[in-house]
Amino acid sequence: MEVIVKIFFTFIKIGAFSFGGGLAMLPFIEKEIVYNHQWITSEEFVDIIAIAQMTPGPIAINSSTFVGYKVQGIIGAMVGSIGIVIPSFILIIILAKYFTNMKDNKATKAVFKGIRPAVLGLILSAAISVGKTALLDMKSVLIALIVLFLLKKVNLHPILAIVVAGIMGAILY
């Protein structure tokens, strides 16, 4: 029981202090789980990260579920994944509540007019950073171009695009 409570609070702490999501969370998780609590070894942690990146969903959820499972089975997995989302869940609800009320306010509108282009730049940067690790050879560039064509010209659903790309990967690599 004590371990479960510890897992819960450790993941709440990780969830509360990891700005930037995804990969930015990994060093926090590593510090808490591998060094402070020594629940898993650093080799295991490396494996978990690899798996977390190759399974669907946010890396933070995947790795907390996996670590929780390693430490305390199914209950550990539940507690770990719920713990990690609690801080952001609470903050998002508070933010959404306030923002809905002040959305039509003149100042808020001005602020968001400035934020929108920045966010588009931010998403574009995400494409660049994924591109740096994904577009490594002619085959990967070809896959990207085919998917780009299917999305733009045929208006293919993103989920189908992912399935098609997975099949192309299985054939080409």
């Binding site: 798996i51 602020v111 966010v119 588009l120 931010l122 998403i123 994904a134 780009l148």
Partner: protein
């Protein structure tokens, strides 16, 4: 169908196909929530991404919680969050129980090698679609480029870029009478 159940299934579907990190989810949410179901407009969707970024935690979870809350209140927030989480939790449990060497299976590696370049294309198309909701003038193009260079070249934290752009937006546009699109 009960709209809450419908939303749960949509977020579960999005969660199942979000491969390659949180940003890969943006095209999926854009398609399902903005384009198909028209629950949220493009402009507000961009704002939600900005707000999701200012809070700790995974972008995908934050955005789905926000959208759920915005549509159906507190229960919507819980259902949106759980819907996105559930597929990952189940898949991870299956992998952790049965395939401890999952990441070393060569077919999985090959599939993933195909998906990653597709994620680049998906995100690019989402940016193109979302950019239609902001004015296309020189100022905005310069603004987008500055943000890209700040993050990709100088590694400035996205939160700082958002805060700074918000301040700049306030200074530049606080006198505007017009609401929303002004192009």
């Amino acid at each position: 169908m009960n709209p809450l159940i419908k939303m749960f299934l949509i977020f579960a579907k999005i969660g199942t196909f979000t491969l390659g990190g949180g940003y890969a989810m943006i095209p999926l949410i854009q398609k399902e929530v903005v384009e198909k179901n028209k629950w949220i407009e493009e402009e507000e969707f961009i704002d939600i991404i900005a707000l999701s970024q200012t809070v700790p935690g995974a972008l995908a979870i934050n955005a789905s919680t926000y959208i759920g809350y915005r549509l159906f209140g507190i229960w919507g927030g819980i259902i949106g969050c759980l819907g996105t989480m559930l597929p990952s939790v189940i898949i991870i449990l299956i992998v952790a129980t049965f395939f401890t060497q999952f990441q070393k299976i060569s077919l999985i590696q090959a599939i993933f090698k195909g998906i990653r370049p597709a994620v680049v294309a998906l995100i690019l198309v989402a940016v193109i679609k979302l950019s239609k909701s902001i004015p296309t003038n020189r100022l905005y193009i310069l603004w987008i480029l500055t943000s890209v260079i700040g993050i990709s070249v100088f590694h400035i934290h996205p939160i700082l870029i958002i805060i700074f752009s918000g301040i700049l937006g306030y200074k530049l546009f606080k006198g505007d009478k017009d609401h929303g699109s002004d192009c």
